[in-house]
């Protein structure tokens, strides 16, 4: 547990100091939302479907660049090797990296939601709390997937370029479920009406958190 806490604390400390991931996450979310709000017709842009779509596009793009940095930054000076040499078991390293990545994704989700409220004239209401819950479920699944695949990318030449090609197709089921549930919530419906979509998000989270926890050792195992 001390090792887990040490890695999470170190990642947060590095981020507070460098601020690279937060800057990327927020600026990318801002960029996507600005482009989409001006690309759509005004009437269309006010709709919940558009807002939900824009929010998830921002989240996925921001996550792709931001969440994976938590793992890729360990490449510098061979720090990933040092973690593997340490007495921590691989699953603990995965859990720590997932926690840090998830933390940054939640930060991105909050920033994107605030920006979306401004750009799409969303009202601050209870539906936003439900929306945050949906986004957090999506962020967890995305982080679990991105952390696992980022390790593969870190070990392959040009792996960073490969990462989006690996992540996006696998994330599509959660993306569709997230957009649908978010659109329903933003249109004023209760979250219970989207229980199937939320169920898919939860199933995705369980699947990839478990897969990451079990497979990380094998993915990271041999040089």
């Amino acid at each position: 547990m001390a090792g887990y806490a040490a890695i999470v604390k170190k990642d947060l400390m590095l981020e507070v100091r460098g601020g690279r991931i937060t800057t990327v996450l927020v600026s990318l979310a801002l960029l996507v939302l600005v482009v989409l709000v001006f690309a759509f017709d005004r009437a269309v842009a006010q709709g919940p479907d558009t807002a939900a779509g824009a929010l998830w596009i921002a989240l996925v793009f921001a996550g792709m660049l931001g969440a994976t940095r938590v793992v890729l930054s360990e490449q510098e000076n061979g720090c990933l090797r040092a973690l593997l040499l340490s007495p921590l078991d691989r699953a603990t390293i995965y859990a720590a990296k997932l926690t840090a990545s998830f933390g940054f994704m939640v930060g991105a989700a909050i920033a994107a939601t605030i920006l979306a409220m401004l750009f799409f004239n969303l009202e601050f209401s209870m539906s936003l709390a439900a929306l945050m819950l949906v986004l957090i479920l999506g962020a967890l699944g995305f982080s679990a997937l991105a952390t696992l695949l980022a390790v593969i990318a870190a070990r392959a030449r040009g792996g960073e370029l490969l990462l989006p090609l690996l992540i996006v197709p696998l994330f599509v089921p959660a993306l569709i479920a997230g957009v649908k549930a978010s659109a329903a919530v933003l249109s004023g419906a209760a979250l219970a009406t989207s229980r199937d979509w939320v169920g898919i998000l939860i199933a995705f989270d369980v699947l990839f958190v478990t897969a990451g926890y079990l497979l990380f050792e094998h993915v990271v195992g041999e040089e």
């Binding site: 170190k10 400390m13 590095l14 061979g78």
Partner: protein, 235 residues
């Protein structure tokens, strides 16, 4: 006789189609020190990577503390310290934060105190709160040595430990290695050629065509005696 800390049987490693190590039998008793000499790409680093469990052998086996390195459990990894070509340091953390982080990873009690003690020992006490990215190569290497030893390992793997160090840095790192040896730590070092630390008598090995062999005196003669100083008895 105590069980060897390191024991390899017909150890081999092939990357793709390229064999790097082959048929290597190597034993090292507790508290002993060995230096493995070889040129660039001879397989020295690969051997150390196998011994610390980062790389799996393609053939044969490597036992460290009696445990097969293919199935190295965390409690065995805790007993190994590795000083490699890479520093394993985070440039945006300070020297103290780096050492404290590794102390916590290895479950060292009072990590902050341990970090400060090591910083004083390596002469970086005044730079404790400076970020590592502002360090010179020599300062970084000294910190790297402290990072490798902060958990008082029972086996220290040193991959060309004095690369990029100035004379003061070499003296400090040598002192650290000597203290570790005095405390009974088993040492395996790699070097291109000479490696001499006063007070430590190294068993000499050489990698010849991927095979770790005992260094032969006739080879020394052939090489003009450049390794003679390494053969002095342990004091």
């Amino acid at each position: 006789m105590a069980a060897p800390v390191i024991e390899t049987h017909a150890l081999g490693k092939t990357f793709g189609l390229t064999p790097v190590l082959r048929e290597t039998d190597f034993r090292l008793a507790p508290g002993h020190a060995a230096v493995i000499i070889g040129g660039n790409g001879s397989g020295k680093s690969t051997l150390l990577s196998i011994l610390c469990g980062l790389v799996s052998p393609s053939e044969g086996s490597a036992l460290v503390f009696g445990e097969d390195t293919r199935r190295f459990s965390p409690r065995y990894r805790r007993r190994i310290g590795m000083l490699s070509h890479q520093s394993f340091l985070y440039p945006n953390l300070t020297a103290r934060e780096n050492l404290e982080f590794y102390a916590r990873l290895y479950g060292v009690s009072e990590p902050r105190k341990a970090a400060d003690a090591w910083l004083e020992r390596i002469g970086l006490g005044e730079s404790a709160d400076d970020r590592v990215r502002t360090f010179s190569r020599g300062m970084e290497q000294r910190l790297t040595a402290a990072r490798a030893m902060i958990h008082n390992p029972a086996l220290l793997l040193l991959d060309e430990p004095f690369a990029a160090l100035d004379s003061d840095g070499i003296a400090r790192v040598k002192a650290m290695i000597r203290e570790a040896a005095d405390e009974g730590c088993t040492l395996v070092a790699t070097a291109h050629a000479q490696l001499e630390i006063e007070g430590i008598s190294f068993e000499l090995y050489e990698i010849v065509r991927g095979q770790v062999v005992e260094y032969q005196e006739k080879d020394e003669a052939r090489r003009g005696g450049r390794l003679r100083s390494l053969l002095s008895p342990r004091s």
